[in-house]
Assembly symmetry: C2
Homo-oligomer: 191 residues x 2
């Protein structure tokens, strides 16, 4: 599988087929997560594998409530059309949980201590890329009530639920959303 | 370039050769950053390209002070042996800057609003992988005084310096640090 194809063509998947994800593919995806860098190589990520339909339904119900509330609070009208059925459809959701104590030396700096979250995000990006390389669709989902979903998943209070990653075979045929040009993103060159 | 080779064998580089990084490689790396997902596709990342030796020296001096202070505060004795010369050696440092307003709907949730940081971290992971695929070494560096380095780089006050990414041809021949087993990282299976 060509690296450039993977990084360029991965996209968020909002519709999944029913087909289960093979165990070896799940393991490969999580193994790739673990190859991400982390401050002092502390590997602050932990994974909860969710296949249980009732739990997925609870997450869906909770997230639908959040989405509805946030659509009102934000005034983002497109959220009304944004369906969350992928939370039920996806055969597999991986909750990525971070350990705030497994962060870098910035833990001792005022207003810092976020390194473990960034490492978890890097691990998630590896998961999404690996999923694409294995022919799977994925979605990095964050519109959830963190305390409520943490309770549903019985996550320890000293840990931080970073994201839910939906995984499965894709039934989403919409094109990847456009990206801004590099010229807009390079804000300064100091040479 | 094989995706699995890239994701498995990328590692942090702490020693760089003098050779400059070709312009087309810099652009490819930043283009790959931009393929990361972000909440509502807001692409919250911005890049400052740093080649200027005086600016690199200023960042080095400031970071050395931070490292020394943090070594004392943390009691992490290995930090005494951790040299920061890569900040001067690396022909190129990319400062990745995030825009807190370009975050997801979680902006309206109490205690949230971190989505833009996670997206920047995903973009950084893409940069590191792309660098490896292009035969370059990279380092995700975070041991800096954020207000001070933001001032050195004249970053707008409403933006957030997420990380400094050192890039260049590698002169680091140490092996990749070990990873914990998957069994230790999968904390729960809900099926």
């Amino acid at each position: 599988m060509d690296f450039w194809e993977v990084v360029r063509n991965r996209r968020s998947c909002h519709r999944f087929l029913d087909d289960a994800v093979e165990e070896d593919k799940i393991n490969t995806i999580l193994e790739c997560a673990g190859f991400a860098p982390s401050p002092a190589n502390m590997q602050p990520w932990e994974f909860i594998i969710i296949k249980n339909k009732e739990i997925k339904k609870k997450i869906f119900d909770s997230s639908l409530r959040v989405k509805t509330e946030m659509a009102r609070a934000s005034g983002w009208s497109w959220l009304d059309r944004y369906q969350l059925h992928f939370l039920i459809q996806a055969p597999l959701i991986v909750a990525v949980v971070g350990d705030p104590l497994k962060t870098g030396i910035e833990r001792w700096q005022e207003g810092r201590g976020e390194g473990y979250q960034h490492a978890c995000a890097a691990a998630i990006e590896n998961m999404l890329l690996a999923a694409h390389a294995l022919g799977l669709g994925s979605l990095w989902f964050t519109i959830f009530d963190k305390p409520e979903v943490s309770k549903i998943l019985a996550i320890e209070e000293n840990k931080n639920l970073i994201a839910l990653v939906c995984l499965g075979y894709s039934d989403d045929h919409t094109p990847r959303p456009k990206r801004e040009s590099l010229q807009e993103k390079i804000i300064k060159i100091l040479d």
